[in-house]
């Protein structure tokens, strides 16, 4: 039973890492968003697995809550994507760099 | 004297400053208020001076709790050493005001008043945090007065001097906190008051050395001692007259005061152990700055160098670990403050009239302004250390002290009689006396106010030279107390 839990957690970790790497490597905002969702769901997986492991309902509830929050985030994220696209006519996250450190004082 | 006279002396100028700041005073009104304040304070201080008993211990104590949770107290007190500096401040500031009488703005006077508060507060504090408090607070009006009314590249030099000084004092702060904590660890309750801090004895030697230098760096920058002097030149040559007057004649001395007040009682052993280093740093500075001053063209920079050289000599005195050196140092603090202060006022007038700081562009002043020249000469001879002025008495005593410390030091430090004379007289010849064909027609002679302001300085310089013992008996017990009780030196 325990090793089964372990394998679940391992899977969750893999998903988590994929998500993280996705944030780092992909330029497209949508994919960045999906990667975040992926990471959240990886955590959810852990919770559910844990709940199954020591027959308690708590982790399931937590998973539910997390999904809810993820939905809230999703709303903000999608609306933001719309605004960004309207602003720059592009989904490439690398071109959003107006806040780059430009002027550097000397002396 | 239990109505808190010291607090009044500290906070009266600040109060006047803020009142004039808020109320619609003009420049003139502010000036009159400031002058009146300085006179009142002079009266208070002289009453302190006469009620001061001839012991080496603190008097006029005041003690209130400030931040009880960390045992930080508002505690004041003075002893002979602070007394003379206090008397000095009270005497110098009114005459300085008489000199700055015309053409200064309101902000100028307010800054001067605030500086006075900072100085006196620093002088009275018997609690390390309180001392640090005033020590830093003193910096702000100086920052303002140099930056707002200075000349030349004033913004840069102001920032430079501020950062430089604050760096030093922050290291001091760390040392203070460390001392407080180790006091807490030893005795189980918080206190930063000097009397408690001196009882710490759970510090290892390494810790002590670090803390010692933490303190010393702050004071060495303020004084300034040899490697930390570079802020001095730009600051002195760019400051307005009032600022450079206070910087040179009083604040620099507060560095020395800090060493005597805090470093000596807290680290008596290290004080004795490192005395040779500082005696020699002092002597080195004396000669180094003296030589540097010779070819300096900017007259204010020359005086900056010369006062740095004298302050090195003062440091030699206080580290010479005998009564002659220390008394001499205390005396040279007065002498130098009066002479250099006077010289900076005079030069400030010259700059104000002619707008010239370069020696080659001057000359022929003596014919235009004889009285100016007379006072200039008196101050100059005091700097040179001519017998009959208090400059000689102090230098002689310090040389005695240095000789008592080590004959070589004594003989080397005796060269002071040559150094100051050489560059001062040469400057006097080129800048004041001889006709160099420059146009100095705008130079005016002293008016009545200025004469009135300069007379006390000149009088004291000569009186203290002819009858020094008048002024010694107040401070001598304190010095004895330092040597016998604090440093445990019998000589």
């Amino acid at each position: 039973m325990a090793d089964l839990l372990l394998s679940y957690i391992a899977l969750a970790m893999i998903l988590f890492s994929i998500g993280f790497l996705g944030i780092i490597s992909r330029k497209n905002i949508f994919i960045v968003y999906m990667s975040i969702e992926l990471m959240l769901n990886a955590v959810n997986l852990i919770f559910v697995a844990l709940g199954r492991y020591n027959e308690s309902m708590e982790p399931q509830v937590m998973a539910m809550i997390i999904i809810a929050i993820a939905a809230a985030e999703a709303a903000v994220f999608l609306s933001l994507i719309v605004v960004l696209y309207r602003n720059k006519k592009s989904l490439n996250s690398d071109i959003f760099n107006v806040l780059k450190q430009k002027d550097t004082a000397n002396g | 004297m239990d109505f808190g006279i010291l607090s009044i002396i500290i906070f009266l100028p600040m109060f006047v400053a803020f009142t004039t700041l808020i109320l619609p005073f003009g420049a003139k009104g502010t000036r009159n208020a400031a002058f009146l304040t300085s006179i009142v304070i002079f009266a208070l201080v002289s009453s302190v001076y006469y009620n001061f008993e001839l012991t080496g211990f603190l008097q006029f104590r005041e003690h209130y709790t400030w931040i009880s949770s960390y045992g930080i107290n508002y505690s004041l007190g003075i002893d002979g050493f602070s007394l003379i500096i206090l008397m000095l401040i009270a005497t110098l500031i009114p005459s300085a005001y008489l000199w700055l009488w015309e053409g200064r703005t309101k902000g100028y006077w307010i800054s001067m008043l605030l500086i006075q508060t900072g100085i006196t507060g620093t002088l009275f504090s018997q609690d390390l945090i309180l001392f640090y408090f005033f020590w830093e607070a003193m910096l702000l009006p100086v920052f303002m007065i140099i930056g707002m009314f200075g000349t030349g590249n004033r913004v840069f030099s102001t920032i430079k001097v501020t950062v430089f000084t604050i760096m030093g004092s922050l290291f001091m702060l760390i040392s203070i906190l460390y001392l407080g904590v180790s006091f807490f660890n030893e005795y189980g309750f918080w206190s930063f008051s000097l009397n408690d801090i001196v009882q710490i004895n759970n510090l290892t030697r390494t810790e002590e050395i670090w803390l010692f230098f933490g303190f010393m760096i702050a004071f060495a920058i303020k004084i300034p001692l040899f490697p930390f002097h570079t802020w001095l030149l730009q600051t002195y040559s760019n400051s307005p007259t009032g600022g450079v007057f206070l910087l040179s004649s009083i604040m620099a001395k507060l560095g020395v005061y800090g060493i005597v007040r805090f470093v000596m009682p807290i680290f008596p052993e290290l004080y004795k152990e490192f005395a040779p280093i500082f005696v020699w740093i002092g002597i080195f500075g004396l000669i180094y700055f003296g030589i540097a001053a010779m070819m300096q063209v900017n007259i204010k920079k020359m005086f900056a160098y010369s006062s740095a050289s004298h302050l090195g000599f003062i440091v030699t005195g206080i580290f010479s670990l005998n009564v002659f050196g220390m008394t001499g140092a205390a005396f040279l603090i007065i002498a130098h403050a009066m002479a250099t202060g006077g010289l900076f006022l005079l030069v400030g007038k010259m700059e104000y009239d002619l707008g010239i700081k370069a020696i080659p562009a001057l000359g022929g002043i003596a014919k235009k302004a004889p009285i100016f020249t007379v006072f200039f000469g008196i101050m100059l001879l005091c700097i040179v250390g001519l017998p009959g002025t208090n400059g000689f008495v102090s230098e002689f005593l310090i040389i005695l002290g240095a000789f008592g410390f080590s004959p070589t030091a004594g003989i080397v430090s005796a060269f002071t009689v040559l150094i100051a004379a050489s560059f001062m007289l040469w400057m006097f010849q080129r800048a004041i006396l001889s006709d160099s064909g420059n146009d100095v027609s705008k130079m005016t002679d002293l008016n009545k106010k200025e004469i009135l302001g300069m007379l006390p300085l000149a009088f004291l310089i000569i009186a203290m030279g002819i009858y020094p013992d008048w002024f010694f008996y107040k401070i001598e017990p304190t010095i004895q107390h330092y040597l016998l009780d604090i440093l445990q030196i019998r000589n």
């Binding site: 760099n97 | 570079t230 540097a292 001879l381 017998p387 005796a414 010849q429 160099s436």
Partner: protein, 628 residues
């Protein structure tokens, strides 16, 4: 009893000088005060002091023990008191007498000399201040009080030399004098401090010092002696610190007469005599002093033979006469030295004043070869100058003869034959250059018959006469027993003389004759070369001697230039380019690293996420490391 009058000897000139100073400032700022008022205050002071001095002189005559007056406690540190004390013993009172007397005369002379100078009041302010300091110097009862007077004298000479301050040359000369004196003072201070620590345990006045020195190791004593000697050399313009004296002639002539002939320069001699108890214990240092004196005397005499400026000649002669005095005091013949100080004061003051008279008469012409024939124009000056010249040349019975003879006798008697020979040669040269001056100025065929001379006022000529009489008579207070005389001065100052010298009368006679012979030789050479000297061609001097052996240049090369270079290096190179660079370098370092850090702010989300990943992985690695 009325010892406090001792203080008044000093106070009277001091007060008068202060009054004069304030009056002068008042007169230039507010309303002009007539010179007569100034003169009133100025001229009375020295005579009051003189009278007081005389009164003490008589008190010392009846009982010869030292009179001491402690005015107040000057300084009291650590239970150790230094008094502002005055001491009158034979030596100091003797000095007081001739200082005030000659000084008074020079005051009178100056009142004529400066009468149409608009700094009249200022001049006498300095003059009396100088007198006060000089009197304090001789009357002080402890080295430190003496030092006050000592420095006061120095600064007054600075002020008086640079009296015409508009011309920077004069001020330079003043600075030179002050700095050279300062070098001496350095020695003095070092000596004082060493004395203080080794011999001053029970008081710092001369008497206690004398007691204290009994048990001080001799090498320390010789160190003190040498250090003091530096001071003496500085004041009395001996080798190697003499350079200031010739330049000091930039001041008005009365100044040269008072300071650089009669009083100030003799302070060195006085000091050595004052510290006789020290030098008696270290004879070899004394010998060193004597050698310095001898060489200075010869050196100055040689230079003087080729000078053309009348005052410079006199200045060098002063230096060489001071050399004689140093020979005497160095060899322990203090009374002889002081005797020469005394006589020299008369005839040298006279010479300067005569020269001054001539200079004034010729509208400030100082080159002797542009004068000539003054004998007929100003006979009075001529005669007085003649007397003085005879006196300095050492022709009996004039004053200089006796004193110089006694000095040479001392040299011979103490077996220092080399010094003695130098002394004799110097005597020849002295006679030569003095008579050269006399002949050229007064006898030389004058080539400008028709030029009207500036008239000399009464109070310029009157002192000349008095001093001339003095130069004739002054010698007779020290006539050696040999000539059936009575060596009053020797008796008066016998407290100083430790060792008696015994020379057979026959040898003494020979020596005396030899001296006269030397003087006469010099006179004859001068007569042959310069009597009726053809004034049409002014000789152009060149060469080593004319250039004073290039001593000034050498000093500049060695000390001054090096110092200036060093100063420039420090204040314009080292401080700015090195020390300040370090300070500013640190702050610039912060800013530079700030610019490096700023590159990380690329505003790229993925980069930020990546840096987060890096951070997290570092932390996780740390975890793994720690947890096992």
């Amino acid at each position: 009893m009325d010892n406090f009058l001792l203080a008044w000897i000093v106070l009277v000139p001091l007060l008068s000088s202060l009054i004069l100073g304030t009056m002068y400032l008042y007169s230039i700022k507010v309303t002009k005060i007539p010179n007569i008022v100034f003169s009133m205050f100025a001229l009375t002071a020295p005579f009051i002091s003189f009278v007081l001095g005389v009164s003490f002189f008589f008190r010392l005559l009846e009982n010869s023990d030292v009179i001491i007056y402690r005015a107040y406690k000057w300084l009291s540190v650590d239970g150790y008191d230094i008094d502002m004390g005055f001491m009158a013993d034979q030596l100091s009172i003797f000095m007081v007498l001739f200082i005030t007397f000659v000084g008074g005369l020079i005051h009178i002379y100056a009142s004529g000399y400066m009468k149409d100078d608009d700094g009249y009041g200022k001049f006498f302010f300095y003059f009396n201040l100088f007198l006060a300091s000089m009197l304090l110097l001789v009357l002080a009862n402890s080295p430190i009080i003496m030092f006050i007077g000592w420095e006061g004298v120095g600064v007054c000479s600075y002020l008086l030399i640079s009296y015409y301050y508009q011309d920077s040359e004069n001020v330079k000369a003043g600075n030179k004098a002050f700095i050279a004196n300062r070098v001496g003072d350095l020695g003095f201070i070092i000596a004082m401090i060493t004395m203080f620590y080794y011999a001053g345990s029970n008081g710092f006045d001369y008497i206690n010092l004398e007691l204290g020195m009994a048990n001080v190791p001799v090498e320390v004593l010789s160190f003190i002696g040498l250090a003091l000697l530096i001071g003496a050399i500085g004041k009395s313009a001996q080798i190697p610190l003499f350079v200031w004296l010739p330049d000091a002639m930039a001041g008005p002539t009365p100044v040269s007469a008072l300071i650089h002939a009669a009083t100030m320069v003799t302070a060195g001699v006085y000091m050595v005599a004052r510290f006789h108890f020290l030098y008696d214990m270290i004879p070899n240092v004394g010998l060193f002093i004597a050698y310095i004196g001898a060489f200075s005397a010869l050196f100055a005499a040689i230079i003087a033979t080729k000078q053309t400026d009348i005052k410079k000649i006199l200045a060098y002669s002063t230096m060489s006469q001071l050399g004689y005095m140093f020979i005497a005091v160095g060899l322990g013949g203090y009374s002889a030295g002081i005797f020469h100080v005394f006589t020299h004061a008369f005839f040298k003051a006279l010479l300067f004043m005569g020269a001054g008279a001539v200079i004034v008469a010729l509208h400030h012409e100082q080159n002797i070869f542009k004068m000539g024939g003054m004998r007929r124009k100003t006979p009075l000056v001529y005669f007085t100058m003649l007397i003085a010249t005879l006196a300095i040349a050492g022709i009996p019975p004039f004053a200089g003869f006796f004193s110089k003879d006694e000095i040479l006798l001392t040299a011979f008697g103490s077996g220092e034959y080399f010094i003695w020979i130098i002394g004799v040669i110097t005597a020849v040269l002295t006679a030569y250059y003095m008579f050269r001056l006399l002949f050229v100025v007064f006898h030389g065929s004058n080539y400008k018959e028709n030029r009207e001379l500036h008239s000399l006022s009464k109070n310029m000529t009157m002192p000349l006469v008095i001093l001339a009489i003095g130069s004739i008579l002054a010698g007779f207070i020290g006539v050696p027993l040999l000539l059936g005389g009575q060596n009053y001065i020797g008796i008066w100052l016998e407290i100083l003389n430790s060792k008696a010298l015994h020379v057979e009368h026959s040898i003494e006679l020979y020596l005396m004759g030899l001296n006269i012979l030397a003087a006469v030789i010099g006179l004859l050479i001068a007569y042959k070369k310069f009597f009726n000297y053809d004034m049409s061609k002014v000789p152009e001097y060149t060469g080593l001697i004319w250039n004073k052996f290039y001593i000034d240049e050498i000093y500049d090369r060695i000390f001054v230039d090096k110092l200036k270079k060093l100063s420039i290096f420090i204040s314009y190179k080292l401080d700015i380019n090195f020390i300040d660079k370090i300070v500013m370098g640190i702050s610039n370092g912060f800013i530079r690293s700030g610019n490096v850090v700023a590159r990380l702010q690329s505003a790229n989300t993925r980069m930020y996420a990546f840096s987060m990943l890096m951070g997290i992985s570092v932390i996780s690695t740390y975890l793994i490391i720690v947890m096992r």
